[in-house]
């Protein structure tokens, strides 16, 4: 497997590698101070383990990783910790971050360390943990903690291990020199990594501009048992890009948004393999690396083995910088490197190159000309994008279109900007667009989050309110129950009590009954209309009618059940029963009419109607019976009550009033019963009714007698209190008249809306009348 494939695009910038690869790897001088940023890698910053003033030994752990993706940091030399504070770090932002500053004592005193010996005998986890403890992070540029990548074989199938030795950026020769001089370390490191990942292929991708390194690797491979292929790829920037190298060596593309491990490939940089070798075989943590110091502004460009934390100024001095010629200090390569604005910034694990460029070498970009869409950028793009379109979209802030043109697949390699004849800083436009899109997305997320939180809060408040309401209702119900119990207890000995306490329930029941009646009326109307028009769904209507009727009856029953039996409450019950009986009769009549008309027309639903009429007849008689029964119970009560109360006692007033009412009611009932008797056709029933009427008559007489007696006593009692009983009586009478008026209006009302309004008025009027009656009763 040594075929080389191709990736789209790419450019051939001047290599400028010769300058720094002539001299062997030198050793950077020990600086006065080493500044070690806590974050030299991708992931969480490490946590310092030392205090200011501590003496540390070379290779001693001074900061431990926090979290899964993080790396430890070790003292690069022995010395004293003099400061732990924020210092400028090598980052595109130019910001400062927490660093440990060590003042070397020059003794280079190592902490106790030794290699693992036969690492293959070790448990895999222990071996990876050892590499993690050694603080190794990817040394190619990104600085991804290496131990995390070594775990990849646990949840991915790793077929191929690719060692990235392409070093495609111009100027940089750190990997080249490493391979030339320490090829055995590279191979040794690969063996360790291969032992952990167990790939079936190991490929070293190297550009053909490094013949010496290729030769050195191939020589070193002779002593290696593993099947490692050194694949020489043509020199073309950016062949060292992870995705581009994978395409070059395997012809597989890493899917957008995925990692190489998803397609069974793990990439490691050659520098990283060397660091792994040193950690495993010598027990040396990552405390130094090779840095290329080059550029026309240094007289002796070369590679230096540099302790991490060494400031750039030390390296530049070691290479004999011409400060007057320095125009631009670039960290990394000329294509993707970042400029730094001062030379006190330290070398970290990812620092592979430092270019001290002169003005002639890296002149400031000329002013950008108009894009003529020449398409050179498109031909150069290694990600197969349309840079010219992305430029237009980014410039015009058409970020949706930019996203649609796969802006986020841009690796910012700079090939497009390199070839642009109009000198447009394309990469900057893409970075701008990406950051704008990310900001927008963050804002959107924030807004979504805020909205969700608001909605959750609203829901919570509503829930709480509902719970509160439910509790309140429960309390009210309990209270009502308790009250009823108390009342029942009170009624037990006294056998009667004022109905006032039960009035809320009764009110509610009354309203419910009224509503049910309205519904019933509606249903009835609909049914009648249906019957008249002989619609098909007569049965349905009838069902609805029956349903409504049942409900109305249930409501009325509930009302009558809820009304405290005899005395004042009995009055209401009686009224209800009366109404029920009347309604039943009306219904019966209507049904009879409907039946008649149906019979006339010879409709299909006639049997049903007939049955309905029968049912209604039955119900009408039942209602009448119920009414009669109620009357019977109330009448004797009135009769019984009459003689009992002391004429002069105030309590007797209630009885007197009740008596009066009973008397008037008796009168009406009697009349009604007689009417019923007249209209009744059934002979048996007639006889029974006649009997009842006679009975009622007798009771009426009794009640009248009792009432008269009681009234006389009341008048006498009221006169004693000096209350204008007459006036009160007039008021009460007027209220009652209002009730009657409302009742009449109700019967006349046609529209349902009107009816319900009047019904409400009626309820209100009844209440008023009741209140007045009560007041009156206090004095009667």
């Amino acid at each position: 497997m040594s075929k080389v494939f191709a990736f789209h695009g790419g450019v051939h910038p001047p290599e400028n590698k010769k300058q720094s690869s002539r001299a062997p790897i030198g050793k950077a001088p020990l600086p006065a101070r080493l500044v070690l940023p806590m974050q030299q890698h991708i992931g969480g910053p490490a946590d310092p383990l030392v205090k200011v003033g501590d003496r540390v030994l070379k290779g001693q752990l001074i900061a431990e990783p926090i979290g899964r993706i993080s790396a430890s940091i070790h003292a690069p030399t022995s010395g004293i910790v003099v400061d732990i504070a924020a210092y400028p770090i090598p980052h595109a932002s130019g910001l400062s971050a927490e660093c440990i500053v060590i003042e070397p004592d020059g003794e280079e005193q190592w902490v106790e360390h030794q290699g693992l010996g036969d690492y293959k005998a070790l448990n895999r986890q222990e071996l990876i943990e050892h590499i993690r403890r050694s603080g190794i992070a990817g040394m190619g540029g990104a600085g991804f903690p290496t131990d995390v990548k070594l775990h990849l074989s646990e949840d991915h199938i790793v077929n191929t291990l690719i060692i990235n030795a392409a070093e495609c950026e111009p100027y940089i020769t750190a990997d080249d020199m490493l391979m030339r001089e320490r090829a055995h370390e590279v191979i040794g490191g690969i063996e360790v990594i291969a032992h952990l990942l167990r790939p079936s292929h190991i490929l070293i991708g190297i550009e053909d501009n490094k013949p010496n390194a290729i030769h050195a690797l191939q020589s070193a491979l002779k002593h290696c048992d593993l099947n490692i292929d050194v694949i020489v790829v043509p020199t073309k920037y950016p062949s060292g890009g992870e995705r581009q190298l994978i395409k070059l060596l395997t012809d597989i593309e890493v899917p957008s948004g995925r990692i190489p491990a998803d397609i069974g490939i793990v990439c490691q940089n050659v520098g990283t393999t060397s660091a792994v070798y040193r950690a495993v075989h010598r027990g040396e943590p990552l405390i130094s690396r090779i840095v290329t110091v080059t550029g026309d502004a240094v007289r002796h460009p070369q590679n230096l083995e540099t302790l991490l934390g060494t400031p750039f100024s030390t390296l530049l001095e070691a290479c004999d910088l011409r400060p007057e010629a320095l125009a631009r200090l670039v960290l990394g390569g000329p294509m993707m490197g970042v400029t730094v604005d001062n030379d006190r910034i330290p070398v970290i694990k990812t620092t592979n190159c430092l270019i001290a460029a002169t003005e002639q070498e890296m002149p400031p970009a000329p002013p950008a000309q108009a894009c003529i869409r020449c398409g050179m950028c498109e031909q150069a793009c290694p990600a197969d994008l349309l840079p010219q379109q992305l430029y237009w979209f980014s410039k015009g802030r058409e970020f949706d279109k930019a996203k649609n043109h796969n802006l986020f697949d841009c690796i910012e390699c700079g090939a497009c900007a390199y070839v642009c004849p109009s000198n447009i800083p394309l990469v900057q436009y893409y970075r701008f667009a990406k950051s704008e899109i990310r900001t927008e997305e963050r804002e959107q997320q924030k807004a979504d989050h805020a909205r969700e939180r608001f909605e959750a809060r609203q829901a919570r408040l509503e829930r709480e309110a509902a719970e509160k309401e439910a509790k309140r209702k429960a309390r009210a119900a309990e209270a009502a129950k308790a009250q009823e119990q108390r009342k029942a207890q009170a009624e037990q000995p006294a056998s009667e009590a004022p109905a006032a306490s039960a009035s809320p329930d009764i009110k509610q029941l009354k309203t419910a009954a009224a509503v049910a009646r309205t519904k019933l009326k509606k249903a009835q109307k609909a049914y009648d209309e249906g019957a008249a028009a002989s619609v098909d769904n007569l049965a349905e209507l009838e069902a609805a009618l029956n349903d409504a009727r049942q409900k109305a009856e249930a409501a009325e029953q509930a009302l009558s059940a809820g009304s405290p039996a005899p005395s004042g409450g009995g009055d209401d019950q009686l009224k209800q029963l009366k109404v029920a009986a009347a309604v039943a009769r009306t219904k019966l009549k209507k049904a009879q009419d409907a039946l008649k008309s149906a019979e006339d027309k010879g409709l299909d639903g006639i049997d049903k109607l007939r049955a309905t009429v029968e049912t209604l007849e039955q119900k009408a008689s039942e209602a009448q019976q119920a009414f009669d029964a109620a009357q019977k119970t109330s009448a004797p009560a009135a009769v019984e009550n009459a003689p009992q109360p002391e004429p002069n006692s105030p309590e007797s007033g209630i009885d007197a009033k009740a008596l009066k009412q009973q008397v008037s009611i008796m009168r009406t009932k009697l009349k009604k019963s007689q009417t019923a008797l007249d209209s009744c056709e059934d002979a048996e029933e007639k006889a029974r009714l006649e009997q009842e009427v006679a009975d009622l008559k007798q009771r009426f007489d009794q009640a009248t007698a009792a009432f008269e007696k009681a009234e006389q006593a009341q008048i006498e009692a009221a006169a004693k209190d000096g209350v204008d009983l007459k006036q009160l009586r007039i008021d009460a009478a007027m209220a009652r008249a209002a009730v009657t008026k409302s009742e009449r209006a109700l019967s006349k009302a046609e529209s349902d809306d009107e009816r319900s309004t009047i019904e409400q008025d009626l309820v209100a009027a009844r209440e008023k009348a009741e209140t007045l009656n009560q007041t009156l009763s206090q004095y009667e």
Binding site: Q369, C374, G375, Q388
Partner: protein, 351 residues
């Protein structure tokens, strides 16, 4: 030490838009030479006139638009427009024809749209179409090539040419130095078959060789630009292939009434169009795939207009029509990005 922060990349290829334009101008030299050889001094006079006018108009409008003069004049795009229009119009056109064309190309078609890079239509072709529609007589009075004028290099003298362009001459003067183009002759054939007309017409017997030679010169310039990677092969090749296939198909069915594909490729503005007009990056489709579609559509349109349209040649109209379509083509011809299963289509695809 105080250093500046700059965004990567820190190096760039030593090329510029002016270099691109300069290369295009160099690539027109063989064509200009061939036209001068075969049609006389007119072409050179037109180029000089058009260039001066173009730079003048460009400077004036840049001044009006308050843009830096030197920076924009140096990009050379006005010169390219001037040369392309100058070689497209008849060599003996009057100065005011050229002036009108250049004014329209530079001021209206280019600068009023925002200058270089923002013009939706090819400025030279907008001007050419305007002139053809406005001054049909002047625009169809092509110079006869020397191959029709007997032995030796018998062309109108330089002074005479200047007189024709800047002054006026007797109408009969034109008769001795101008004539129909091969495409004219083949179009207005008065019922003759292709073969008959090839036997009879002097334009076709003696003149067509000159046209082939000029086309070959343009082709050479095009190959030069292609080798310098100023443009890719996609648009010109697909245009030529489309035109060739269309012509072959109809000629194959009915050689009496249709013109042979070789003539279609060899005469008229086919080669000039393929390598210098269709490849104008600003107004054409931008992706490689888009360029193929763009070029092929132009090729088909050229054949259709030449064969069934009212005008003998059709490069300008075809290019302008496809300029209109270019943004649309761009939306549907994105390349498949690395790591993606398929290319996005249109504007609403998943990103």
């Amino acid at each position: 030490m105080a250093l500046i922060h700059l965004s990567s990349p820190h190096v760039s290829k030593a090329n510029s838009t002016a270099d691109v334009m300069r290369l295009v101008l160099i690539a027109t030299l063989p064509g200009i030479l061939a036209m001068t050889v075969f049609f006389g001094w007119g072409t050179l006079v037109q180029i000089a006139l058009a260039s001066v006018l173009a730079l003048g108009f460009e400077a004036a409008i840049l001044k009006l638009r308050k843009r830096p003069l030197g920076f924009f004049l140096k990009d050379g795009s006005a010169l390219v427009t001037a040369v392309l229009l100058a070689v497209a119009i008849p060599p003996f056109s009057s100065w005011w024809v050229t002036a009108t064309g250049i004014f329209f190309a530079i001021v209206i078609a280019k600068q009023l749209y925002g200058g270089l890079g923002n013009n939706p239509f090819n400025p030279a072709m907008v001007a050419y179409a305007l002139l053809l529609v406005s001054f049909p007589v002047e625009m169809t009075r092509w110079t006869s090539p020397i191959t029709q004028n007997g032995e030796g290099w018998q062309v109108a003298g330089l002074l005479e040419t200047l007189q024709v362009i800047f002054g006026s001459v007797e109408a009969t003067w034109y008769d001795s130095f101008t004539g129909a183009t091969p495409l004219d002759v083949l179009k207005h054939r008065a019922g003759q078959t292709t073969e008959e007309i090839w036997r009879q017409s002097d334009v076709l017997i003696n003149g067509v060789a000159a046209w082939y030679a000029v086309s070959a010169a343009w082709f050479m310039g095009g190959i030069f630009l292609l080798s310098r990677k100023i443009f890719t092969w996609h648009a010109p090749l697909s245009m030529l292939i489309a035109l060739f296939l269309m012509a072959s198909m109809f000629y194959g069915f009915d050689p009496d009434n249709y013109v042979s594909p070789v003539v279609h490729l060899g005469v008229g503005a086919t080669m000039l169009g393929a390598f210098f007009i269709v490849t104008d990056p600003v107004s054409s489709a931008t992706s490689n795939r888009g360029k193929v579609i763009y070029g092929a559509a132009i090729g088909v349109l050229i054949y259709i207009i030449r064969t069934w349209g009212n005008y003998p040649d059709a490069v300008a109209f075809s290019v302008l029509l496809l300029n209109l379509c270019a943004p649309f083509i761009d939306q549907y011809t994105q390349p498949r990005t690395y790591g993606h299963k398929r290319a996005n289509r249109g504007m609403k695809g998943k990103s």
